[in-house]
Symmetry: C2
Subunit: 373 residues, 2 copies
Amino acid sequence: MAVKYTLEKKSSECEARAGVISTPHGDIKTPVFMPVGTKATVKTMTPEELKDLGAQIILGNTYHLFLRPGDELIKKAGGLHKFMNWDRPILTDSGGFQVFSLSNINKITEEGVEFKSHIDGSSQFISPEKSISIQQNLGSDIMMAFDECVDPSATKEYVAQSLEMTLRWLDRCVASHTNKNQALFGIVQGGLFKDLRKRSVEETIKRDCQGFAIGGLSVGETKEEMIDILRFTTPLLPEDKPRYNMGVGTPDYLFESVEAGIDMADCVLPTRIARNGAAMTSEGQLNIRNSKFKEDFTPLDHECDCYTCKNYTRAYIRHLVNVNEILGARLITYHNLYFLTHLMDEIRQSIIEDRFLAFKNEFYNKYGYTKEK
Amino acid sequence: MAVKYTLEKKSSECEARAGVISTPHGDIKTPVFMPVGTKATVKTMTPEELKDLGAQIILGNTYHLFLRPGDELIKKAGGLHKFMNWDRPILTDSGGFQVFSLSNINKITEEGVEFKSHIDGSSQFISPEKSISIQQNLGSDIMMAFDECVDPSATKEYVAQSLEMTLRWLDRCVASHTNKNQALFGIVQGGLFKDLRKRSVEETIKRDCQGFAIGGLSVGETKEEMIDILRFTTPLLPEDKPRYNMGVGTPDYLFESVEAGIDMADCVLPTRIARNGAAMTSEGQLNIRNSKFKEDFTPLDHECDCYTCKNYTRAYIRHLVNVNEILGARLITYHNLYFLTHLMDEIRQSIIEDRFLAFKNEFYNKYGYTKEK
């Protein structure tokens, strides 16, 4: 078995749960936040730094790696783990989301998606079989099924037809999935329509999947809509398999996802905003470019004990960001990933001690994380 | 005494010498290569990485730090060491070279230099007193005297007059030098005119300086001209004080400088070329973008045991550089600085064992460092 989920503790108040996912590259304590390493590197970080800050698993992006340097090259290198010198678990997405969000789509057919590369405009084609083939070349621990990411403005009729195609695509992914050291996760679709979500869950869980993602969220719906769909959909999934909410990375979205029964989440947010000078702190998001930090010789986050906060001041990091020095992006990236990783550790501990909702309320009340400093 | 030079061994065949410079932030074994940390950071590196790769002392640039974030801010932070979290020695230049090379000069007068900032065009003024004041605010271990960097095409008459002004400026630097925990190095000028070099040395060494630099080189003259002036000038300097050749960082220039009796050198080259994908290796300079490295799963330098070479392949680093990932610049920067630092260690050892020229010839013959791969 490529991955195995062991439930450790379930909240008595909500769907939140703590568990362990075991993989060929080690165990993952859940719930877990997964840093994104799109192009075979979590931007600005070394693998040692990722381990040091507590990352248990990282993502790689199939679309990007397929285009550059190519999955065949990575296979020759011995797989993505060896290529990038990361020996902990890796999850790869299917390429679907990027095909739909980054490329000019030429044509979506039953067979797959024809698109133009965002890099050089070349024509490319990804089908369910191709996606699995790429992911098997990459050798990730967890592969995602190739699905259609439906535009949030699509009609119910379109969403209904699309989820049926996604199910047929899932069958083809399952059929192509030959390397059983790698897990395959199915993706539940259905947009904001609960009857369609139900249909999608019922059919998806019949397939040979080792975990499930809730797809079609974080694509423009409101936070309330996302929470509503998550709370409806997640409990329909089998308890003995991991559940993954793709693309969320703010503290509130992590709390809400966990409360709905989600085990895994990922997002480029902490690394992306770091390169723009924004830090996630226990007092809310902080834009280090703000002139009020000019002579602030205190750490980014006064409650943090990460490498960045132990060694550098806001004034120094502000200077680095202002003069476009790479070390500035490095230091904030490190801190932001540490912040989310450790927040998830605390969330996990609160579940084990059955005080998740109290911890959530405490966090929300005390820190006001959406406050812009 | 801010710095003290102890001669350990002098070559029996040439002017090469091994020694130790002691400073308030620790000892420096010489000859030494000094990485450049222009804007209070050696580009892409943390202080821990610099220590790990063997850096004993780094440079800060007075001109850049004066403009951003400002020397007063750094003074408030507790000095440059504390601001950037580097507890080993720091040398600051005088700002002179950057004033002459980066700015639009308005006016050079006996009083100092009026120039427009390369950042915002604002009018600025640096005099010998101002340069020392900035450097005292920065709190470097070694300060450089403010001198005029003469254009290499200048007439002998101009060079002669300029060196006299630089001597008067040195007197003003010495008079402003109040913090005796910091050393002040004088700079010998005189262009390519040996009689002027002799005059400059004779007068400069009369002043209260704790070390000396050979100025006005690496500004467009040929390698042979540089070697000729270095071999003429350096032996005229007192044996009990360190000698510094500013702005050299290729292996051949380091060998030639050491052979002429130089103890210290610095250059942005290893860090700058790293960000363009060029690595210094024992087989010569290597441009990682070259397509022949596409599937090369061997280290950057087959004879190197640095962090980069122990953990990553040419194919991976090439990929990172091709997709503009910061980790690519980090890995090559680390390697290049390690390469030069360790080359200087080997050079030092060869001097101690009185086989410097043999080692130089061996290096030149075996490696052909200028060969472009």
